[in-house]
């Protein structure tokens, strides 16, 4: 019985991890895309993107998920559950990440940008060679925060039929009536996934760390 419960929960944990990684990746791509477009685009592109970010940050994730999953089929777009998660949770987290990146870009020393400009680098080269490498390093705490948020919002996936860990737990509780043990167990599994993500980020952070970089 115990092994059976554990296997069911671990299967759900696989979906949870998959949702977190796919939505987290979407968020990174969207966040980076918005940050880069704001840097390179003109004033009106920046205004449009700022408005988009403003709206996305204000919309509840579940509402956007329902709009995508239950609303879009009404106008002829059938969206698979995982893609619906990416287009809702991924997009909202991307909007938050774009703000993290905006703050990190603002922390870059303008003199470095001026120096690169004075050497003949173009705006695109400055972004690629100077700004983005520094921005990513400044953004690590914010990225970890956002990934954690994505993990914690992943249970909403059960509303569109993805059998992630909370969904599995609910089904198990319904049949076994052992809510305390099962929900406590998934709490621990969420924590383990969180530690796993944190460890992965720390490895990447260590690989690219520079002594005294953020302390100047």
């Amino acid at each position: 019985m115990f092994v059976e419960i554990l296997l069911t929960l671990l299967k759900g944990a696989g979906y949870t991890l998959l949702i977190t990684l796919s939505c987290g990746s979407t968020a990174l791509v969207v966040g980076l895309g918005i940050a880069i477009a704001r840097e390179l685009g003109g004033a009106w592109i920046s205004s449009v993107l700022s408005a988009l970010v403003y709206v996305l940050r204000g919309v509840p994730m579940l509402v956007l998920l329902f709009v995508v999953f239950f609303g879009l089929p009404g106008i002829g777009f059938d969206v698979p559950p995982m893609l619906a998660m990416m287009l809702s949770l991924g997009l909202i987290s991307g909007a938050y990440l774009s703000e993290v990146f905006r703050g990190a870009l603002a922390a870059i020393n303008p003199n470095e940008v001026l120096a690169a400009k004075s050497m003949g680098f173009t705006r695109f080269e400055i972004l690629r060679l100077i700004k983005i490498p520094q921005m990513m390093r400044f953004s690590v705490p914010g990225i970890v925060n956002e990934l954690t948020t994505v993990l914690k919002y992943s249970p909403f996936a059960y509303t569109v039929g993805i059998p992630e860990i909370t969904k599995q737990a609910m089904a198990l509780v319904a049949t076994t009536l052992r809510g305390l043990e099962i929900y406590a167990a998934i709490g621990l599994i969420y924590f383990a996934i969180y530690r796993l993500l944190l460890a992965a980020v720390r490895i990447i952070e260590k690989r690219y760390s520079i002594t005294g970089f953020a302390q100047e």
Binding site: N109, K117, S118, M119, G120, I130, Q134, I210, F213
Partner: protein
């Protein structure tokens, strides 16, 4: 023909004229210092010359080419002018060696090994070769400025611009940087330097262009300027030194 010739350069922001009819020339191998009270337009002038700031009117001839005409290759112009800033402006995420090789590899498309050899030569000239793998955060102000000078020199520029290169340094570091810039001066590197530092001006320049309220107030040898005791503008700036 002068390497750099500036004719009637004007820079205005709305009603405010920052540079008002600046004309001077810089010969190849010459070292000239631009001095003047704070806010007189020194840094703006330097930045206009490599088009970091767009001049309102006037002409800038660099190596015989009018760089203020439309369609000029700004990138090519800037790669021929080495620019050293007051606050060093080293790229924090790159080591000293990478700071020096970045433009060589990405702009001049020089292969890595060759770029590193060239960078090490310039770092050695600035007595910074032993710090090649250090990151900017680990350098003192003087070391940072020397690395920044090596970065500018590695591009083999026709002229070196310095914008207050010693004003962010303490007196000991000033001495080490002045000594090295003086060595460049003695090597006949063409230099245009904005500074408040009389000691630096004495060590590295042939002539001084003295700006006041956006205009050239005087252009002379520094000794001659220091002798102008009766001139209130110059006397106030130098504060009785000399």
């Amino acid at each position: 023909m002068a390497l750099l010739e500036v004719n009637n350069l004007v820079k205005s922001y709305g009603d405010r004229t920052v540079l008002d009819g600046i004309s001077f020339a810089l010969e190849e191998g010459e070292a000239k210092v631009i001095m003047g009270p704070s806010g007189c337009g020194k840094s703006t002038l330097l930045r206009c010359l490599n088009l970091l700031i767009e001049p309102t009117s006037g002409a800038i001839l660099f190596d015989g080419e009018d760089v203020t005409r439309p369609g000029v290759d700004v990138r090519a112009l800037r790669s021929r002018i080495g620019f050293v800033f007051q606050n060093f402006a080293l790229y924090r995420h790159l080591s000293v060696l990478e700071n020096v090789t970045l433009a060589l590899r990405r702009l001049k498309k020089i292969p890595k090994r060759e770029a590193e050899e060239r960078a090490l030569h310039e770092l050695d000239r600035m007595e910074m070769a032993d710090k090649r793998d250090a990151y900017p955060a680990a350098l003192s102000g003087g070391q940072s400025q020397r690395a920044a000078i090596a970065r500018a020199l590695a591009m083999d520029p026709k002229v070196l611009f310095f914008d207050e290169p010693t004003s962010a340094l303490d007196p000991i570091m000033v001495r080490e940087v002045v000594t090295l810039i003086n060595r460049l001066y003695l090597d006949n590197v063409t230099i245009l330097c904005v500074t408040h530092d009389l000691c630096l001006a004495r060590y590295i320049s042939d002539r001084v262009v003295f700006l006041d309220h956006g205009r050239i107030y005087a252009e002379d040898l520094i000794e001659n300027l220091l002798d102008r005791d009766a001139d209130p503008v110059i006397d106030e700036f130098f504060g009785g030194e000399g």
